[in-house]
């Protein structure tokens, strides 16, 4: 084994850049989760609808996204869309678009399972007290479903946060990209990757802990 002297000043000197990059990654994950939730909700309702022209395309979308490597999807959107003269977005927006589509497919599966596991009596009770279909969804189905699916949503948020590392491939300056830059500039391999791994790890577990608190706060039975 060779001698290796740790020089953590590389990290302290770049702490600002790393922090900014971490926040960017978090932001990308949160925005994509928000858009993905909307897409996923619409897709879940479309999947469960009895009209085949509505449920089949959505099925194809979900299966397609879930079978495709995210990196390929990122490149496809970033390099492929301009071929169709759609080029109003920059790399960050392109990444958000991709990650939202990706999140939408996964969220739709979560919501589909959530809607499927709704006790039938709730809907029947809502009908019995005379709520209209829209009100039934708004006041009965959705609140219950969000509680059921909250653990799965928080899992998705964590994996989306980890997936933001792929934005490095199209030069979005998030944590992995900045880490690679520092690595290339200074060759302090261990310091850079150990601290970046630690940052990802700590952030992921902080998100997990926070969302567990939210789950407890919104648990139906207290």
């Amino acid at each position: 084994m060779i001698q290796y002297y740790f020089d953590w000043s590389v990290i302290t000197r770049n702490a600002g850049a790393l922090g900014e990059a971490l926040l960017l990654g978090l932001g990308l994950a949160l925005v994509s989760l928000a858009i993905g939730t909307v897409i996923g909700l619409a897709a879940a309702y479309a999947r469960l609808s009895c009209r085949p022209w509505l449920s089949w395309p959505v099925w194809a979308y979900v299966e397609f996204i879930r079978c495709m490597p995210l990196l390929l999807l990122i490149f496809f959107v970033y390099f492929g869309l301009p071929e169709f003269n759609i080029s109003w977005f920059d790399k960050t927006q392109s990444f958000i678009l991709t990650l939202s589509l990706y999140a939408g497919a996964y969220m739709s599966e979560v919501f589909r399972a959530g809607l499927g596991s709704m006790p039938k009596q709730y809907v029947e009770a809502a009908k019995a007290i005379g709520l209209r279909p829209w009100q039934r969804q708004r006041y009965v189905v959705l609140p219950v479903m969000f509680r059921i699916t909250l653990p799965a949503i928080s899992n998705n948020l964590i994996s989306l946060f980890k997936d933001t590392s792929l934005a490095a491939a199209i030069a979005v300056p998030e944590l992995t990209f900045v880490a690679r830059r520092i690595n290339a500039d200074t060759f302090r391999v261990m310091e850079v990757w150990l601290s970046v791994s630690a940052l990802y790890l700590i952030t992921a577990y902080t998100i997990a802990t926070l969302l567990r608190l939210v789950e407890r706060r919104y648990a139906s039975i207290r």
């Binding site: 079978c67 990196l71 496809f76 490095a168 992995t176 880490a179 261990m190 790890l201």
Partner: protein, 226 residues
Amino acid sequence: MLDFSMTPGAFGFEAWQSRWSILSGVGVTVASSGLTIVIATVLGILFGIALSYGWWWLRLAIRLYVDVMRGIPVLVLILFTYYGLALFGINVPAFWAGVIALSGFATAHIAETLRGAVQSVPQGQMEAGKAIGLRFAQRLRYVILPQAVRRMLPPWVNTCLEIVKGTTLLSVIGVVELLLASQQIMARNYLIVDFYLLATLLYLIINFAIAQIGGVLERRFSYLRY
């Protein structure tokens, strides 16, 4: 787009010209994911058993390993392995660095799946095995694992699909697998959409095949045969 004629510059011609690069890309993707699946399954089963039945310090160590692996993005793991191994004088080619990183990641997932599957086997099964005088290895082999395998197969197939998708990340450290092979071809002929579509199709085929094999295995293990 998708002009299948055989004139230079058309997709049909260019795809035929680059058939060997594409095929070798598919080969590298299949080889790296196959190797990763085998390594991760073997290690994951060992780790999973240790996680369920090991001494407390072993359980603690593996729990730490699993949680760390699950909290770090695969891309960071791959880059870390690639640059980090060289630092210790282990100069492996990018392909092996990638396989090691992916295996480390997938091992954690499979270990966790196996632990869940083993724990979902009712306690009484273990006790019944003890009662008829089976040794620990025999109890695992004949009582616990056959039941755990059934519960573990669906998430295991999912992990295999994740691994195939994860091999695209090896392109970042310069392994010429399917994605990088396609990109190299695109850099030659600018048929960006066409070759991304081709790569997509090939990934869909690989993943579909794995899902089918998983389905066959699930049926094979699905019920008790006497």
